[in-house]
């Protein structure tokens, strides 16, 4: 099991809020720690990957569950 340092519930939020809240949450954790984001915005799947790609943070996992889309991001 991955060690999740912080969880962000971005369900019900639409673009660009999930990304903006993710940025804020990442600022709060330390390097190497994992942030778990849950979102329902279908656009967030590609946007989260693009966000990680551009900011250098690592997208450890991107899955769909009953709750929505779940992303695990490791802070760089």
């Amino acid at each position: 099991m991955t060690n999740v340092a912080e969880k962000l519930d971005a369900r019900g939020m639409n673009c660009p809020l999930p990304i903006l809240k993710t940025r804020k949450a990442i600022n709060q954790i330390k390097r190497g720690e994992i942030l778990e984001v849950t979102a329902t915005d279908p656009g967030s799947v590609k946007d989260m990957a693009s966000f990680c790609n551009q900011t250098g943070n690592r997208l450890v996992a991107s899955n769909e569950s009953g709750d929505g889309f779940v992303f695990l991001i490791e802070k760089a």
């Binding site: 019900g12 939020m13 639409n14 673009c15 660009p16 809020l17 990304i19 903006l20 993710t22 940025r23 804020k24 329902t40 915005d41 966000f51 551009q54 900011t55």
Partner: protein
Amino acid sequence: MSTATDNIKDTGQLDAWLDKRLDELLPSKLEEIHAQKTPSMSIIATKGTLDWAYPPFILASTAAALGWQVDMFFTFYGLLLLKKDINAEVSPLGNPAMPMKMPFGPTWFRDYEWPMPNLLMAGVPGFEKLATGLMKKTFKNKGVASIDELRSLCLEADVNMIACQMTVDVFGFETSEFIPEVTDYVGATSFMPVARQSDVCLFI
């Protein structure tokens, strides 16, 4: 006598060698410089209605979240977006493509595209209030941030908000009507160097 010729020959060879080395090194060096540079965006916001308030703040907050340097220049009706209380409304007048859907009621009612000619709607007293209410409700239902929220997120992420001094004078505004975070009150001349340096410059 032969020394001069040798020198010229040497210089020619040196130039050829330099050209070759530059061709080899320059692309990767330029790429490196480009990769290290913080991307930047300048937005010139000129519209003050609710629908047009969204694009500049969405783009600015997103770019800032990606670590970009963002500068916004608010001019003409865009200045209204810097007021302490944003009272932006949406007008159907001149918005021929504005879809009309109801944000409440059963699904069949929500999905119905209202075939109202927007000129007629715009002429109905109180319609702007209604359209504004409907848009705010729709956006809230869909989990879209309010303009206030997006603006706060921009400010938190250090987006520079610059007001056009000329428009402030022309419209008779007082600087006290605007949020204290406004970085500067300047003319177009002062914003040009900022716009010039930015990777992306948008007029909205």
